[in-house]
Symmetry: C2
Subunit: 192 residues, 2 copies
């Protein structure tokens, strides 16, 4: 069995969401599994001096248009979330508080859908709890152990060089952006 | 005849160079011509708070790898230029000093090839002159009229919302990045 693909993303990243709808099928076509690894873009921005896209003059307006157009181009449901972006600390902690891989994956998919399709503000811890509850999950967002685990995961991502979302690592090779999926597909067949 | 495509780029932008090798064929497949419009990323960065990619922690290292990998992926010759990036004010002025469209296009292609394939520093006005001379062109980089014309072109680009390179506008629809060429291709068939 080949090594799994690392899939880093922020729960309030539109391109991260778009990638989340395709990454498992992409990996499966090449006999791979995917490690979903939510991170916090805000922490990465401290390292790179970056800022949330909507806050940047010119680029912000363009991005809102590109989120929608890219979703249409790929046939992925997308309703512009409002507020946007939101803090995803609670969502991230809820994810890492779960030990079971399937439970984590189900929660992650449900959070993305809630925010980018159903208009639910996943920046609110109460909404994260409700979404998890609907899946029969009871994540912990408050214990120090979970806070520490989340922080360690996010710090490890930055240490790996993760500065954006989505950020995919295949056998040590990093790919930034949903628009690198074709390069990832070829790389999975054979590094070039 | 349908309206031409506007192709904005900075002469020291790797993704702008990659796009320059494909934009005319892309447009021609859909019965379009291309207006090549060099601009100065440094001026755009003042509007967006942006910075040259190589200067950004994490993102800079990633980008150097992605320039090379994207060139290999698309089968485009690319030798990492050094120094990088360079000021492209002289290159831009030389381009806009020419009135003939074919002469402009020939000079632009030659400048890109010199910098990204042949290792010539096009930040040096003397090298711009030599490259132009090899094509039988004598561009003006010094007159106030050319300086003013260049400044007006760059300001007009920023006013159109151009914040990166390449930046392509098709019938009012903006596309940022060589990685949007597939979306452009579909848009040229039919807006979606």
């Amino acid at each position: 069995m080949k090594a799994p693909i690392d899939f880093y993303f922020d729960f309030s990243s539109p391109y991260g969401y778009l990638a989340s709808t395709r990454i498992d099928a992409l990996a499966a076509r090449h006999g791979r599994k995917v490690n979903w690894r939510p991170m916090l873009l805000g922490v990465a921005f401290k390292a790179t001096g970056g800022a949330p896209l909507p806050s940047i003059p010119l680029k912000g307006e363009y991005s809102r248009r590109d989120f929608l157009r890219s979703a249409r181009f790929h046939g992925i449901p997308y309703n512009p979330p409002d507020p946007f972006p939101v803090s995803t600390v609670a969502a991230c902690r809820a994810f890492y508080s779960l030990d079971d891989t399937d439970a984590r994956l189900n929660l992650a998919r449900a959070l993305f859908k809630a925010y980018f399709v159903d208009g639910v503000n996943i920046g609110e811890p109460g909404n994260v709890s409700k979404i998890a509850g609907g899946l029969g999950l009871q994540p912990d967002m408050e214990s120090q152990a979970v806070k520490d685990r989340t922080r360690a995961e996010v710090d490890a991502a930055i240490a790996k060089g993760v500065f954006g979302s989505p950020y995919i690592i295949v056998d040590g090779e990093p790919f930034w952006g949903f628009d690198r999926f074709e390069q990832i597909e070829r790389w999975l067949r054979e590094p070039f």
